[in-house]
Amino acid sequence: MTEFEPTILAFCCNWCSYAGADLAGVSRLQMPPNVHIVRVMCSASVKPEYAIKAISQGIDGVLVLGCHIGDCHYMTGNHRTAKRFPVVQKLLEDVGIDKTRLRLDWVSAAEGEKFQKVVTEFVEDVKRLGPNPLKEVRF
């Protein structure tokens, strides 16, 4: 049986984390090919509904990456992101889905290495959890 390869959805903000991901690419920092990035202007625009939808439909992990607190291109956008996602994580736990499947982190435009680290770590974490149990659930 082949090893489980998780499918991961990531939201990256144009000014920081997407640029950080670009820098990781430019620096040729290698990482596992499980992460698919959706570009947004600000992490504050990432609706928790997207993360809930993705996990509901079987995506194994969702990664939301924004600017560091205090550095948001749009001032306090990432504060709202930081307030919302812990709630979603707790709700996932309340219904029995491991909250490790949803991760919020901060990556600046200069942090190619951090991007690599976060991606590599997250893929390992989700691999360890196994496939999203909702894939098997027939509602």
Partner: protein, 565 residues
């Protein structure tokens, strides 16, 4: 809604993408995607050849959506958008998929999985493109006035340049006189010019002109608006004044760190800062025995940066002491002499030739300053000689860094511009946009950004003035069509969006007898914070609608989970 006619163009980027991702396989896959009528590949999509191939394909295949899978949109999106426009498609019907920085370059050892990932990314891009709508960019007029905050060297240089370009300029200075640190430093190195002359020449450019308005004893009180249409409120010694402006320049400078508690500063008589020394020297007083201690309060945990100008200032002042008092003894205790470039290195050499003694110390072995028998005694452990050396002094000059101004936080909040961890303002991009903020229409120059020498400050100020003049001279500003809007049928007027917006761009207004959220397009910066705050999907962002992003998720679910089965 008619079916989209999408064209997909996969770029080889030479061998940057093609050596890892099987481009032709991705092209074949793209042809199977809904709405795709043509899929092709180019060696270098951004080259003349590549661009013209895309244009031809758009016209030949009657395309109304274009997807290019190549490098990062952060560099070439404007280029491909322009090509679409030239070929007759609205430039917002274009979607960029990153399969280089985010794929081929980072999965170099896994070409198979990288190709599969590229396919999924292209599918996500195609599903979003199908739902893109044509957008019209709006124009906003520009108030032909600039406001410069800070009347030091940076502010004066920028203001003089703006005035020379015939731009109405308001200079706002919090002190009672103009000049900032330039007035407190009488001689500028490495040329040893009198700062008075520089100040006079800058002022002559301003004082004579009816375009220059100088406000002394004035503070920034409030700022509203956006590029081209700011309303700047200042407090001019008790009186409130509102200035409509098109551009704002931050030239608030920095301040000298006061090393209270270090090396006896404030307790031992004779321990002074560099600015204290400047005052002494300008009065013609030069001590007989001087010790400079460099890096006091900088290049250490808590304040890791080098303040760039302190070593050169000490070299300058060492030479001035020797000019005033040829028999004087000068010692400079340092942790590296940062005299960069030819002119400064020349000063270092001259100082050395004239007998200035240089001793290197390290943080591990701190220098001690005490009073002994009527003199100051400096005990330093010289790292090069590996020896403890005692130096007697009349004056110990503590060369401290420039630190961010205490009120920079207020300015930062009022202008909505970020600061780094040391409180200095952060420019939009270190290389590509060094004298402006990410917030359009607000510019930065001088030591407010980073401790800088007089020449560097002037260069930055001239650059900032040149950049600030652009929207003013153009007379208009184009607003990128990624703003938000509220669906009046869905909106429940709960006000979440109003609270979430950092730019006061949303308000609850009455429309057709109903209370709904309304977005001021000119003020909206397209961050999408309102979208995430909206509970019922009423708030949408152009180019990033919930249906578009939802379709990308559906596409990933389909292509990734199908593969698993």
């Amino acid at each position: 809604m008619s079916m989209a006619r999408t064209g997909v163009f996969i770029c080889h980027c030479g061998h940057n993408i093609a050596s890892i991702v099987a481009v032709e396989e991705v092209v074949k896959f793209a042809r199977t995607l809904p709405g795709v009528v043509v899929a092709d590949h180019n060696l270098y999509s951004c080259s003349e050849e590549g661009l013209s191939a895309i244009k031809t394909s758009i016209k030949q295949n009657n395309l109304d959506r274009v997807v290019v899978a190549a490098c990062t949109p952060r560099t070439h999106e404007p280029l491909f958008r322009k090509i679409c426009e030239e070929a007759g498609i609205n430039k917002y019907l274009f979607e960029f998929v990153n399969i280089r920085e985010h794929c081929s370059w980072i999965h170099a050892k896994e070409p198979g999985p990288a190709t599969e990932k590229a396919k999924r990314l292209v599918a996500m891009g195609v599903s979003k493109a199908a739902l893109l709508e044509p957008q019209a960019e709006t124009e906003s007029s520009v108030t032909p006035t600039a406001v410069v905050i800070g009347g030091g060297l940076a502010g004066l240089t920028a203001a003089a340049s703006l005035v020379a370009q015939d731009i109405d300029t308001h200079l706002v200075e919090q002190e009672g006189e103009i000049g900032g640190h330039l007035s407190r430093v009488s001689v500028l190195a490495p040329e040893f010019d009198e700062s008075r002359k520089l100040l006079d020449s800058l002022m002559s450019g301003l004082a004579g002109s009816e375009k220059a308005h100088i406000h002394l004893r004035s503070k920034l009180k409030d700022v509203h608006g956006f590029v081209g249409n700011f309303e700047v409120t200042i407090d001019e010694h008790g009186k409130e004044l509102k200035i409509p402006a098109g551009a704002i320049l931050v030239a608030t400078g920095a301040q000298e760190f006061q090393p209270v508690g270090e090396y006896g500063f404030g307790e031992l008589q004779g321990t002074i800062t560099q600015l204290d020394l400047e005052k002494m020297l300008s009065e013609g007083k030069a001590p007989n025995r001087t010790v400079f201690i460099q890096c006091v309060g900088s290049r250490q945990p808590g304040r890791e940066y080098c303040s760039r100008i302190c070593c050169n200032t000490s070299l300058k002042n060492a030479l001035r002491i020797l000019d005033l008092n040829p028999k004087a003894a000068v010692t400079i205790i340092h942790r590296d002499i940062m005299s960069y470039g030819t002119a400064w290195e020349e000063l270092y050499r001259r100082a050395s030739e004239r007998g200035v003694r240089f001793l290197r110390y390290a943080l591990a072995n701190p220098t001690k300053v005490t009073r002994k028998d009527g003199s100051l005694l400096v005990e330093v452990y010289d790292e090069t000689l590996a020896e403890r050396i005692n130096v007697e002094a009349d004056v110990v000059v503590l060369a401290t860094p420039m630190v961010s101004r205490e009120n920079s936080g207020d300015v930062s909040k009022m202008l909505k511009v970020p600061r780094d961890k040391y409180g200095f303002f952060l420019e939009a991009h270190v290389k590509l946009r060094p004298v402006e903020f990410a917030t359009d229409g607000v510019f930065i120059c001088g030591s407010a950004r980073w401790p800088s020498s007089a020449k560097e400050v002037m260069c930055q100020a001239l650059a900032a003035a040149a950049k600030a003049a652009i929207p003013i001279k153009r007379g208009k500003v184009i607003i990128e069509a990624i703003t938000a809007w509220a669906d009046p049928d869905k909106c429940a007027a709960c006000g979440n969006c109003v609270t979430a917006c950092p730019y006061e761009a949303v308000e609850i207004a009455t429309q057709d007898g109903k209370q709904i959220a309304k977005v001021n397009d000119a003020q909206c910066k397209g961050c999408g914070a309102c979208v995430a705050a909206c509970p019922n999907d009423a708030m949408q962002q152009r180019g990033f609608t919930t249906r578009q992003l939802g379709a990308m998720i559906d596409s990933l679910v389909k292509n990734a989970l199908e593969a698993e089965q």
